[in-house]
């Protein structure tokens, strides 16, 4: 009764909770009840019942099999969840950017390397080699950047190179019509050069040497590859034309001598003596290209330059006028003709 009036609402609940907590901690029942002497009577009944309750619940343990199998399931599920939670190797934007930059740098380096290698090794390339285009590009650049005599020198050198390439290919037996066409183009360029530029003796001699070498190569290639007869004939014609154009022209001296002395025949004779060099050159074309006779036979025109020599025979005639007429036929001595007129 005293407790009923003294206690606050929830007092019994607090007291029981406190006593129960001490009992849960393993303290002896009598010890716990001794801490609450005024309430020990009713607390004892509740504590005893709660102890029985706990014992009853705990008396039905799980089977070992269930405990073990559930543990296996639990751990397996944990492994699976951990694998699922693992961050997948994804490429972040920055990583992709780095990879792209690296690849572009590597690609650029490879391109630069190939170009450099191509240019470095292009010197000895022949048509059909992987780096031949580098060689042509190099030559084109060299030609474009050159002026005056150096450009002439470069043209000669390139013509020599074409000749050398065809020689190499001919030795392999792999000359193509395109190679001969290339040689033909260079020969025509040399002819134009001879016509448009005032070449000195050295340049003329060098040009003639190139023409001779080119004709020899053309003959060699047609001997090895008879199927190349037609393009070879065209190339030989172009080379012969170039050789004709490159022949040293005595026009200036002829003009001078014609104007000064009434008998310029001597100089004309020199010209005639010089011609054998040119007349010798057409010889291969005549032998090598029998089917193409129409063209090559026309080319030996240089030999027709020897025509001036017959007019030399009328040298007894005092008038120098006959000299200009044959030169006009040949074409090149035209200045002398004008000078004579």
């Amino acid at each position: 009764m005293r407790r009923f009036f003294e206690s606050k609402p929830g007092y019994d609940a607090d007291l029981f909770a406190e006593a129960q907590a001490l009992a849960d901690d393993g303290l002896d029942r009598e010890f716990v009840l001794g801490l609450f002497p005024d309430d020990a009577e009713w607390l004892a009944g509740l504590l005893d019942f709660s102890a029985e309750l706990k014992e009853a619940i705990a008396s039905e343990p799980p089977s070992y099999y269930f405990e073990g199998s559930l543990k296996s399931k639990f751990l397996a599920a944990g492994r699976k969840a951990a694998r699922a939670a693992e961050p997948q190797p994804v490429f972040a934007l920055s990583q992709m950017r780095t990879v792209a930059a690296s690849m572009s740098v590597a690609l650029s380096a490879a391109v630069v390397g190939v170009i450099t290698l191509g240019f470095v090794t292009a010197g000895s390339a022949v048509p059909g080699d992987w780096n031949y285009s580098f060689k042509l590009a190099n030559e084109r650049l060299e030609y474009t950047l050159s002026r005056g005599d150096s450009r002439i020198d470069i043209q000669y050198r390139q013509a020599e190179t074409r000749t050398h390439e065809v020689r190499v290919l001919s030795a392999r037996g792999s000359v193509t019509p395109a190679d001969l066409a290339s040689l033909e183009r260079d020969a025509r360029a040399l002819a134009d050069l001879a016509k448009t530029q005032n070449l000195d003796d050295g340049q003329q001699q060098r040009g003639l040497a190139i023409a001779n070498a080119a004709l020899a190569v053309i003959v060699q290639s047609t001997q090895k590859q008879p199927a190349l007869a037609i393009p070879a004939a065209a190339a030989a014609a172009a080379v012969s034309e170039a050789a004709t154009a490159l022949l040293p022209v005595p026009s200036a001296t002829a003009a001078v001598t014609a104007s000064s002395t009434p008998e310029p025949t001597a100089t004309a004779t020199v010209t005639a003596t010089e011609t054998p060099l040119a007349t010798a050159t057409p010889q291969p074309t005549a032998t090598s290209t029998p089917p193409a006779t129409p063209e090559p036979t026309a080319t030996p025109s240089p030999s027709s330059t020897a025509k001036p020599s017959p007019p030399a025979s009328p040298s007894p005639s005092p008038s120098p006028s006959p000299t200009p007429s044959p030169t006009s036929e040949a074409g090149s001595p035209s200045p002398s003709a004008t000078a004579a007129q």
Partner: protein, 189 residues
Amino acid sequence: MANQPVDTVAPEFDERAVVEAAQRGDQRALSELYEYYFPKIYRYVNARLANSEDAEDVTTEIFLRMIDNVGSFQFRGLPFGAWVFRIARNEVVSFVRRQKVRGVSQELHESIPDGGPDLTLAIETQLTIAVVREATERLPEAQRQVITLRFGAGLSVAETAEALKKTENNVKVLQHKAIAKLQTMVQRD
């Protein structure tokens, strides 16, 4: 197991470290958590349900739910144990609800446990459990929750309050009323 002192104060290990390791999939940490919580959970569930088969099923569900969600658990004021018992309580409640919907009778059966050393003692104990279960079923839900968590799982008042989202005073009052009522019912039966 009956004589095993119930530790309701704190786990014997650094719970936070163990839980964080378990979240990374550490098998040892998961094993520690299992060893610690399995007896408590099982006793709680077994006290709430009519038979051990149901208790095993529900306990399995609880642990699988726990492992599925442990990665998302964060220490934000709620102890891990309270989080675990909220899962347990939800599973038990939903199981009981499903059983009621299906109309399954919750009759208490008197099965003899396997491997008991003294058959007579086992039968007496089983009867006591049956009586306790039957009496517990007659308690209001809130009191039943408190009783099973406090005396089944062995949680402290504070832990029970956390698990049930109630105040400690509320839990103390519910505990006192439930024990007093059960005592009366059992003595009367």
